[in-house]
Amino acid sequence: MTQRKPNQPVISKHNKPSNRKREQSAVNHKAWLRHHRDTALDSLLRLVRQPVSSALTWLVIAISLTLPTLFYLALTSLQQQTVQWQEGGQITLYLRQTVSEADGERLTDELNARAEVLRAHYISAEEAWASFRETLNLSRSPFATENNPLPASIVVIPTQQNNQQLEVLRILIDGLPEVEEVQLDLAWIERLNRFIDLIYRIVAGLAALLGIAVLLVVGNTIRLAIESRKAEIQVVKLLGATEAFVRRPFIYLGLWYGLFGGLAAWMLVSLVIWWLSGPLAAFLSTYGLTAPIAWLSVFETLLLILAAILVAILGARIALWRHLKDAEPQ
């Protein structure tokens, strides 16, 4: 290795970069901003000047982002729907014969007061018997006068039907001494929720995979850009360009790809929604259901574009990290 004499200053005071930096910090700050602006513009121009090849890159980004976004939209609207649909789901509590009508009413009021309960409705033994006979057309049959075998019951409609809250409600009901038997009409909602959880996971996994795809696509595009400007990089490095200076145009290139890709993804998503919403509404109306309003909110749109930009910049950084070493001056 090299011989080093002790006590020798690393660099003379006069040339020490940090000193120079402090002296010129105001000037440098402006120059730095100016260079950022110029580089951003220059990278944008480069991208615009090669519309076909750059469009390929940001279209791939757009498509990779469109798929998970659509799935996400479908899921969130499905979840909103299950909140509506759950009104069809209910819990029936059959009360013991020993519970008086007054006690039954009181219990109903208690249940109504709970947050987990949207509505509780008391059905006395007589009411149940009457409606039973009516449905079976027994009013004139000899059974009509026989003793009523039906118990009184309370019909409970839960407020929210995610699995935890259902569980809380179930524990509560199971602990009630007045209740003889519980009949749950909610199994299908629970299954639907489980299914949605599963799909959420699949969508998250898919989004991660496609995110990696964006990373690779941008990485590869930036790698090619680095390669094509290798001579230029070597020259500016010999002229005293810092790493940051050399990286900047490529980071901005990534930023623009991300921005264009994100915007294109947003347009694709809107197009698909527009394309599907008519037939979907028609389809759902045959089941007596209203179609969900699935549209990206402003916040979600910004999030989508921001995610595209961040992933693209990350891709650019990875490409720079891997390939800038090859562009050291010779």
Binding site: R4, N15, E232, K237, L239, E243
Partner: protein, 225 residues
Amino acid sequence: MIRFDQVSKRYEGGHEALSSVNLHIQKGEMVFLTGHSGAGKSTLLKLITRTETCSSGQVRVNNQLLHRISRRQVPFFRRHLGIVHQDHQLLMDHTVYDNVALPLVIAGEHPKDISRRVRAALDKVGLLKREKYRPIQLSGGEQQRVGIARAVVKKPVILLADEPTGNLDPALSKDIMNLFAEFNRVGTTVLIASHDLGLIARLNYRVLSLNQGKLMTTPFDGAQS
């Protein structure tokens, strides 16, 4: 300004391009470096620009010990140097003006200063009228002069040139050398690697001669401390 103490450079393949080189070039000197092909001229210049690092010994340039400079400081060190290459290394998709402005842009100079200094540098090499051209539209000699303008635009303390006249005819070569001499007269330290012995002989400057990586001429004795 430039000082080598027992500097050796062994490349990865094991080839020793420089062995135990001692030299001292003083501030304001103009020195030629000659030697056969493969003697190690370019290697010596690369050690000065810290494109390569020496295997042993120490290199001191502009009062800085090069092996002590961190990677982050290298760009700031290089901003004190002006470098001219044989193949001029201009950016072909930029104008002459932009090429010459590059060192100033990198250093973050103000656009107003930049245009003034670029014009001054182009004026000195006689290419003021060509500022909007692309390098490809210029002759070999003109391209080389653009390369020189770029090297001197930031008023470097040291001007290094590797075979600056390699591709040029004798008349043009002489012009280029005169240009270097002019910069030297205003105080720039100049080191030129060249094997154009005829040209060097006619100019009256100190000559360092490399042979198989060894320095033949004794270092500038008066400067030895």
